[in-house]
C-alpha cells in the first residue's frame, strides 16, 4: 500500500530531517508512529498524506510513484487517505454534520445520497445529538471524534492520525483507540502518530520509531 525506499527529506538548504527511510505499510495493518518531539513524525506524516515530496528516494502509494503524478492525480489518491489532524481542522461555519460530509461533497455526491450514511457514522462516534452544532461549541473530545468521522466517511484505505489523543483524557483516548481498531477491522490500514506510551501499551501493534531522522521498525 505504502512503500518508502531510501527516502530523505530536507527543508530548503537545511540538514536532512528524515534520512534513509525504508519501510512499508501493508493493507489492513495497524501501526503506531512514535518518537521524541522533533524526531520528524509530522514531516513523515506530511509525506504520507502527500503534502510534500521527498528530496530523495522513492515513495509509492497504492502502486503509484509519487514523483510522476500530476496535481489532479495526487488529489485523486488523497481521496483514498483519511487524515485526522492534531488541531482537528474543522470548518467553523459548517455544522458537525456538514464537516463530516465534506469529503463526500467534494466528490460531487448529492446530499440525499449520503445523508443516512453520515448520520449513522455520527451516531456511531457518539455525536448523534451534536449534528447541528458548530465546531466552536463542541468540546475537545467531540471535535476529535468529528475529525475522525470526517476522515473515515469516504471509507479510506489508509487512515493517518496525528496525535489523535493529545487533547483528551485517558478514558476518551481509550475509546478513540477502540474506534481506530474497529476501522482497522473493517479493512482500513491505520497509522497513528503519538508519543503516548500508555496508549501504545494498550494494544500489541507494530511500532515505527523515529529517532534523529532515522526510522526503526518494531514488529
Amino acid at each position: 500500500m505504502v512503500r518508502f525506499e531510501n527516502v530523505g527529506l530536507r527543508y530548503g538548504l537545511g540538514p536532512e530531517v528524515l534520512r534513509d527511510l525504508s519501510f512499508r505499510v501493508e493493507p489492513h495493518s495497524f501501526q503506531f508512529l512514535t518518537g521524541p518531539s522533533g524526531a520528524g513524525k509530522t514531516s513523515l506524516l506530511r509525506l504520507l498524506y502527500l503534502s510534500m515530496r521527498p528530496t530523495r528516494g522513492l515513495v509509492t502509494l497504492f502502486g503509484h510513484d509519487l514523483a510522476t503524478l500530476s496535481q489532479d492525480a495526487l488529489a485523486t489518491l488523497r481521496r483514498r487517505i483519511g487524515i485526522v489532524f492534531q488541531d482537528f481542522r474543522l470548518l467553523d461555519h459548517m455544522t458537525t454534520y456538514e464537516n463530516v460530509a465534506l469529503p463526500l461533497r467534494v466528490l460531487g455526491k448529492d446530499e440525499a445520497s449520503y445523508r443516512h450514511e453520515v448520520i449513522e457514522l455520527l451516531r456511531w462516534v457518539g455525536l448523534g445529538e451534536r449534528m447541528l452544532a458548530l465546531p466552536p461549541v463542541l468540546s475537545g473530545g467531540e471535535k476529535q471524534r468529528a475529525a475522525i468521522a470526517r476522515a473515515v466517511i469516504a471509507q479510506p484505505q489508509l487512515l493517518l492520525a496525528d496525535e489523535p489523543t493529545g487533547n483528551v483524557d485517558p478514558e476518551l483516548a481509550r475509546r478513540l483507540l477502540r474506534l481506530f481498531m474497529e476501522l482497522n477491522k473493517s479493512g482500513t490500514s491505520v497509522v497513528i502518530a503519538t508519543h503516548d506510551i500508555a496508549l501504545m501499551d494498550l494494544i500489541d501493534a507494530r511500532r515505527l520509531v523515529l529517532h534523529e531522522g532515522r526510522l526503526h521498525v518494531y514488529e
Binding site: Q71, R105, V106, I119, K185, L202, I203
Partner: protein, 329 residues
C-alpha cells in the same frame, strides 16, 4: 491487548445498532439547504464589497464624464460644421439688396446645400443689439449682411467654387466656412477626449489593483478552508471554482452598488439640468456639457465596468487559491 471488557470493540456494534434504531428522526432536523463551502458572509467579504462599491462609483463617474465630454465635443463640431456663412459688405454705389440676392442665388444653385437664409436688415440689427443697444437707426452704418447656408446631411458642397463665384460675381461678398474655428474645436475636443480617456485608464487601473489586493486580503482568512478542502481530496479546479463563484458574486454586488449609485447621480444631474431649462446658467452648462445625459452608451459602459469588476474579483480569487495550493504542496 490489555483493554477491559467494557471497552471490547464488539460493544460498538451493539451500541451502534441501538443508536440507529430511531433511524430517520435526525433527518428531519437537518436543514434543507446546505451551507456554502465558502462562508457567505464575513467581515473581510463585507469590507471587500464596500471597497469595490466605492471604486466602481469613482470609475463610473470618470467613465460617464468621458462619455459626456466626447458627446459634447462631437455635438459642438457637427453643429458648427453644418453651416457656412456668406458675408456681404456694403460697397459704395452698389445696391446691397441686389448683391444679397445674387449671393443667395449662387448659394442655392450649389449642389449639397439644403437651405439658404439671408438675414433681413431687421435681423441683422437685432444681432448687433447686445453691443449697440436698441433704438438706433442702422441705415447710416455700413453693417454687413449675413446669409446662412446649411449643408445637406449627406452633401459635400464645393465651397471653393462657391467662394470663387462669390468673389467674382458679388461685390463685397466673402464666404466664411468656419474652417479655422472647426479646426480649433476639433483639436480641443480631441484633447479633452484623450485627457478623459487617460484619466479613465488611470482610474480603472487603480480600481483593478485595489480590487485585486482587497480580494487577496479577503482570501487570506480563507486559507484554512482551502487547506481542509485540499486534504479531503478536492481537486484544485473544484476549490478554485468554489472561491471564484463566491468572489464573482461579491464583485458583482459591490460593482452593482457603486455603478447604480453613479447612474443615479447622472440621472439626478439630468433632471436638475432640465429644471433649470431657460435660465442663463442652464445655457452655459448645456453649451459646455450638453444635457448631462450620458445616454444608452454611457449606461452600457457602466454596466460593462460592473461586469469587468466581477470578473477581476473572481480572477484574483482564483489566482490566490492556486498560489495558496502551491504553497501547501
Amino acid at each position: 491487548m490489555s483493554m477491559n471488557d467494557r471497552d471490547r470493540p464488539g460493544d460498538f456494534d451493539e451500541r451502534r445498532q441501538r443508536e440507529l434504531r430511531p433511524k430517520d428522526a435526525a433527518r428531519d432536523i437537518l436543514p434543507k439547504s446546505v451551507t456554502p463551502i465558502v462562508p457567505a458572509d464575513s467581515i473581510a467579504g463585507r469590507a471587500l464589497v464596500v471597497v469595490i462599491a466605492i471604486m466602481t462609483f469613482l470609475g463610473s463617474l470618470t467613465l460617464g464624464a468621458v462619455v459626456l465630454v466626447r458627446a459634447s465635443a462631437l455635438e459642438w463640431q457637427s453643429a458648427v460644421a453644418q453651416e457656412v456663412t456668406i458675408q456681404v459688405r456694403p460697397v459704395e454705389g452698389r445696391d446691397i439688396e441686389a448683391e444679397v440676392k445674387k449671393a443667395t442665388d449662387l448659394a442655392v444653385a450649389t449642389p449639397g446645400v439644403s437651405g439658404v437664409r439671408p438675414y433681413s436688415p431687421v435681423e441683422s440689427a437685432r444681432l448687433l443689439e447686445p453691443w449697440l443697444g436698441t433704438g438706433l437707426s442702422l441705415n447710416d452704418l455700413p453693417v454687413p449682411r449675413l446669409i446662412v447656408v446649411r449643408m445637406a446631411s449627406d452633401g459635400a458642397p464645393d465651397f471653393a467654387a462657391l467662394g470663387k463665384a462669390l468673389a467674382t460675381q458679388v461685390s463685397g461678398a466673402r464666404l466664411d466656412d468656419h474652417r479655422g474655428w472647426i479646426e480649433r474645436m476639433r483639436t480641443m475636443a480631441r484633447t479633452a477626449v484623450i485627457v478623459g480617456l487617460g484619466l479613465l485608464v488611470l482610474v480603472v487601473s487603480a480600481m483593478m489593483l485595489s480590487v485585486m489586493f482587497a480580494t487577496r486580503s479577503a482570501m487570506a482568512s480563507n486559507r484554512p478552508i482551502i487547506e481542509v478542502l485540499h486534504f479531503v481530496g478536492a481537486k484544485h479546479g473544484f476549490i478554485a471554482g468554489q472561491f471564484q463563484r463566491h468572489f464573482l458574486l461579491l464583485g458583482l454586488r459591490g460593482g452593482a452598488i457603486g455603478g447604480a449609485a453613479a447612474m443615479l447621480l447622472f440621472l439626478i444631474a439630468g433632471f436638475v439640468g432640465d429644471w433649470f431649462t431657460g435660465t442663463a446658467g442652464e445655457d452655459q452648462i448645456s453649451a459646455l456639457f450638453g444635457s448631462f445625459a450620458i445616454g444608452a452608451e454611457g449606461y452600457a459602459a457602466i454596466i460593462g465596468l460592473i461586469v469587468l469588476i466581477g470578473v477581476v474579483t473572481a480572477g484574483a480569487s482564483r489566482l490566490t487559491v492556486y498560489r495558496t495550493l502551491d504553497s501547501i504542496d
